[in-house]
């Protein structure tokens, strides 16, 4: 979040509400839940870290929404470093995998049931994303983001299918043996 | 050699896989070549039979006929016998013009045939035949006092056999023998010349002893003429002899053996066009039918051509492989057709029993012509798919189906004029104009055959009895009618096969479309109606055009004063043809429309 806000300031100094609007535009329907307060909290943190400076407009009280924010040299360096970075968020599959293993081992729950429940949950998410994607006009930036989200969910669902097959087979073996 | 073996293997595999198509091509080519070979062989066979009869009966080179009798005529004839070119002669002998009536024979127990009368010419002959004109007795004995010998063609037409009695000019004579001669034209033209040199009626020939003939003539004052048979030193020089021996004083006709041979063809005058034109029409139907099947296989052929190209075969080999199957079948059909022609020739080339001998087989020229016909049928019916297969690029040939659908706005426009069920039928199934043309041609050919048949039946009949009585049927008309019926039946049979083939191939091709239409709510009834209509619509112009085409074709070959059947008959026949087409298409259409939809759809996807 911090990096994204910094990068948006790289083009030109900007008001907080302006930044918020630009972020919302890029995220489309996904950004609806993001409120302006979150932006000001972030900007305040960045200012404290010396990455941005806020200049107050003349004759107005010192409040974050009145300030125009600009990058400091340190902020510019941080933006450059962020762009060069190739890190990638790690989907947390290990946790669910361990959940299934633990549930099976302790006979706390049926792993197949867990998978099914998880699947239903992911399908509902996928439905949200897909419907949002369908509502987007062709070629919108938000559409592209939604495409990523849906593909991600699709991949997860396929993995859940694999889990289901594997745990059903394990069940069968237990029952058979 | 390797490629030849490859071609042979592929051809065999193809024939085995497409049995129906192979059978149809074989059948169609057989029928067409047999008919054509028959038509072309008639003259040769007729000539051959005359030749053999002439050889067996010591046939004269020239028969001198006089319309009169009397000393002047006798001496004129006798003087001809002394001419230097003449090496032998027979006569002069009497020709008595009389009537012959069969009698309810008690001796023959088979069928008591009804009483039949016919004009007859009685030749007065010696009891021991001379050097020239020795009629060949085929059953019984030669003439003896009180007994008569009938010419075989005449006897056959009368249904008289040795031992029967006949009445000639009111007097009964036992038939002691049956014989053939090359000295007269075949039955019913034995008279050759009428009394007084005038025209003669259809009449048969009988022989009696000279004295019996004289008695017959004098007792009833019957017309008598004289004739003499001559053998020349040079049998070919009959024309020269005729020119050299004009006798101005008396009326004398010279009938050369060549003339008689030609006369034999008169009875076959119409048979030849019936057979030859029939063979064209049959070939035409063969082309349409086989083409319909070949088009249906076009996709497969294109794929095969692509496959061969992909493995490096040249265009020559590809062409050979694609055509070889058809050519091989056509040649087989040709051979079969020629064999059938060979067997049928004696019956067809000699409708009377007046000639003897073995009918020679088709000549080399006829064999070549029939073979060319067979090959043309094979090539014409498969040329388009073959060319297309050879031209299609390798990759697209291997991947895509060869058939590229084309939008035919005119068809859509046409269908917009029709009620909805017809519209649907047209839009869904009648997407192949080439096939529509084939159907139209097939229908037109059928109608042409029916028009010819009807025309044949409305011609006034003149029998061989006295004054054209039909008690003795007109052999020529009957022969032609039988031939035409046979050809028409063959034509109609092929047309029926064609119609079923066309409907079935259309149905197979439209299968995907029909399945789609069923998912959209088309009933099986609508689908089969659509299929039938797709065949019927092109049949309509075919049937309408068939009538004038048939009449036009007949006007080329028929006698100048032929009778046109009533138009109500002709168009009734056209209508009946269409109704028959509708009935014929109904079954394959119904079968095709009943196929399960889901199956057809998944076949489409696969």
């Amino acid at each position: 979040m911090q990096d994204a806000v910094l990068a948006m300031l790289a083009k030109e100094p900007s008001h907080g509400y302006h930044l918020h609007a630009r972020l919302r535009r890029s995220l489309g329907p996904l950004g609806e839940s993001m409120n302006r307060g979150q932006i000001y909290v972030t900007l305040t943190r960045l200012e404290r870290a010396g990455l941005v400076v806020g200049e107050r407009s003349d004759g107005l009280p010192e409040r974050p929404e009145r300030k125009v924010y600009a990058l400091t040299p340190a902020g510019q360096q941080r933006v450059a470093a962020w762009l060069a970075e190739v890190g990638w968020p790690k989907p947390d599959l290990a946790e669910f995998h361990l959940k299934l293993a633990a549930a099976a081992a302790a006979r706390l729950a049926d792993p197949v049931e867990l998978v099914a429940a998880q699947r239903r949950e992911l399908l509902r998410r996928l439905r949200e994303a897909q419907r949002a994607a369908l509502a987007e006009p062709a070629g919108s930036g938000a559409g592209l983001l939604l495409e990523g989200v849906t593909l991600r969910l699709q991949a997860d669902l396929r993995w859940l299918d694999a889990c289901e097959r594997a745990w059903s087979k394990a069940d069968d073996e237990v029952e058979g043996g | 050699m390797g490629s030849l073996a490859l071609v042979a293997r592929l051809v065999l595999a193809d024939v085995r896989r497409h049995k129906v198509q192979a059978a149809m091509l074989l059948l169609a080519v057989t029928v067409a070549t047999a008919t054509m070979a028959l038509g072309l062989s008639l003259r040769d066979v007729s000539d051959g039979l005359y030749e053999q009869t002439r050889a067996a009966t010591a046939g004269p080179d020239v028969v001198v006929l006089s319309g009169d009798k009397g000393p002047a005529v006798t001496s004129a004839l006798t003087s001809l016998a002394d001419a230097p070119e003449v090496v032998a002669h027979h006569g002069p002998y009497r020709i008595v013009y009389a009537d012959l009536t069969t009698r309810d024979s008690t001796s023959s127990s088979v069928v008591s045939s009804s009483v039949v009368s016919s004009p007859v010419v009685v030749h007065g002959f010696a009891e021991t035949p001379g050097a020239v004109n020795r009629p060949l007795v085929t059953s019984g004995y030669w003439v003896r006092p009180g007994g008569t010998v009938l010419e075989r063609g005449f006897a056959a037409a009368l249904g008289v056999r040795v031992g029967d009695d006949v009445t000639i000019a009111g007097r009964p004579y036992p038939v002691v023998g049956i014989a053939v001669t090359a000295a007269t034209s075949i039955y019913p033209w034995a008279a050759q010349i009428g009394p007084g040199g005038g025209p003669s009626d259809s009449s048969g020939l009988a022989w009696m002893t000279r004295s019996d003939a004289r008695t017959l003539a004098s007792s009833h004052e019957l017309p008598v003429t004289l004739a003499m048979d001559l053998k020349l030193r040079d049998p070919a020089a009959t024309e020269a002899f005729r020119h050299a021996h004009r006798v101005p004083a008396v009326r004398i006709n010279f009938h050369s053996w060549q003339f008689k041979a030609t006369q034999d063809m008169v009875i076959l005058r119409d048979s030849q066009p019936i057979l030859v034109v029939g063979s064209w029409l049959l070939s035409f139907l063969a082309v349409t039918g086989v083409a319909a099947l070949a088009v249906a296989r076009a996709a497969e052929q294109t794929r095969r051509a692509g496959l061969l190209k992909a493995v490096g075969a040249g265009p020559g080999l590809i062409g050979t492989v694609l055509l070889a199957e058809y050519l091989a079948l056509a040649l087989a059909g040709d051979a079969l057709g020629l064999a059938i022609a060979r067997l049928a020739l004696p019956a067809i080339a000699s409708p009377t029993a007046s000639r003897i001998g073995e009918a020679a087989g088709p000549t080399v020229a006829t064999v070549i012509t029939a073979t060319i016909l067979a090959l043309v049928v094979a090539v014409l019916s498969t040329l388009r798919p073959t060319l297309r297969a050879m031209r299609t690029a390798t990759v697209s040939a291997l991947s895509a189906g060869a058939y590229q659908p084309r939008h035919r706005p005119w068809l859509t426009a046409l269908s917009a004029l029709l009620p909805t069920p017809l519209l649907l039928g047209l839009r869904l199934t009648a997407r192949r104009p080439d096939r529509a043309v084939l159907q139209a041609c097939s229908t037109a050919t059928t109608v042409i055959a029916i028009v010819a048949l009807l025309t044949r039946y409305v011609q006034p009949e003149r029998g061989y009895g006295p004054d054209g009585s039909l008690a003795l049927p007109n052999l020529r008309d009957e022969h032609d009618r039988r031939l035409m019926l046979a050809v028409a039946v063959l034509l109609i049979a092929l047309a029926v096969v064609n119609t079923i083939t066309l409907t079935w191939t259309t149905a197979m091709e439209a299968q995907a479309n029909m399945a789609i239409a069923r998912t959209l709510g088309a009933t099986p009834g609508q689908i089969s109606a659509g299929l039938s209509i797709a065949q019927l619509l092109p049949g309509l112009p075919g049937a309408v055009l068939g009538v004038p085409l048939g009449l036009g074709l007949l006007s080329i070959f028929a006698a100048p004063n032929w009778t046109v059947p009533p138009y109500s008959w002709l168009y009734g026949a056209a209508l009946a043809t269409l109704l028959a087409t509708a009935a014929l298409t109904a079954l394959p259409a119904r079968l095709a429309a009943r196929r399960p939809v889901a199956q057809a759809l998944s076949a489409e996807t696969a």
Binding site: L27, P29, L30, G31, E32, S33, M34, A116, R119, R120, L123, R124, R125, L126, R127, E128, Q130, A132, A133, L134, A138, L145, E147, V149, T150, L153, Q154, L157, R158 | P405, R406, H407, R408, T412, A416, T420, L424, R427, L428, A512, N513, A515, I516, A517, R518, T519, L520, G521, A522, T523, P524, G525, Q526, R594, P596, V597, A598, L601, E604, T605
Partner: protein
């Protein structure tokens, strides 16, 4: 639920393919009710019987056992003719392979069911051009299917399925032959052109297509193994999908 309220209802549905030793049970004792207006997705691995189920619902195949009701009428006993009439009014099909009539233009394909249903030429034409416009193909109405891309063909097929405004649209892998963009197009059209009260049954193996439905049933070996209600807004909101809040 009231019977008359169900667009499609099946009871104890069984379908066997083949005979004797080679007999395979494609659909095994299935019960299903699709209320009017519901969009139902059927998922499952290939060969699980989902396409057969669809064919049974549309009367393209006859069940071995059980009942099929469409629009409140039992159809498994109907004659072929009556089935055809039922399909005209009540069912629209969309197939993976498009199944357009290759020799007819887009507009002619779309008006075909309207003509079959007995509408006048003019009505059929008007309805077809309206639908083609709504699927964004007005400019290509006179094109042959072979001149259209896969996505465009499927849009024509959807227009055709909807031309008689059927009670239920049965779609068999409607996006199976399409890329992502074309898939989205088709799904959008389903969404936009769906009239109130119209039900969809979509057989698919694509989770993203299934996720557009209100309800998802999963099929294995001819039986339903899961029935999930997907509709209803998600408590976490869309932002939750990318971890924006918190």
């Amino acid at each position: 639920m009231n019977v008359s309220n169900a667009a499609v209802r099946v009871r104890g549905l069984v379908k066997d393919h083949g005979r004797g030793q080679g007999r395979v049970r494609a659909v095994d004792e299935v019960d299903l009710e699709v209320p009017q207006g519901q969009m139902l997705a059927v998922m499952g691995p290939s060969g699980c019987g989902k396409s057969t189920l669809l064919h049974l619902l549309g009367g393209l195949e006859r069940p071995t056992d059980g009942e099929v009701w469409v629009a409140g009428r039992r159809i498994d006993m109907l004659s072929e003719r009556a089935l055809a009439r039922m399909r005209r009014r009540s069912v629209g099909f969309v197939f993976q392979a498009f199944h357009l009539v290759e020799e007819l233009s887009a507009a002619e394909n779309v008006e075909l069911p309207a003509l079959l249903a007995g509408r006048s030429r003019r009505q059929a034409r008007r309805r077809a051009s309206l639908l083609l416009e709504r699927v964004g193909l007005a400019a290509r109405a006179r094109h042959l299917p072979s001149q259209l891309s896969g996505g465009q063909r499927q849009r024509v097929a959807v227009a055709r399925a909807l031309v008689n405004d059927p009670l239920v649209v049965l779609a068999d892998e409607p996006t199976g032959n399409l890329d992502t963009a074309a898939t989205l197009d088709v799904l959008k059209i389903f969404e936009e052109l769906r009239s109130p009260g119209q039900s969809f049954v979509i057989v698919t193996h694509d989770e993203r297509v299934a996720a557009t439905a209100d309800r998802l049933v999963s099929m294995r070996d001819g039986m339903f193994v899961d029935d999930t209600w997907l509709a209803g807004s998600h408590p976490r909101g869309l932002g939750g999908l990318i971890g924006l809040e918190g």
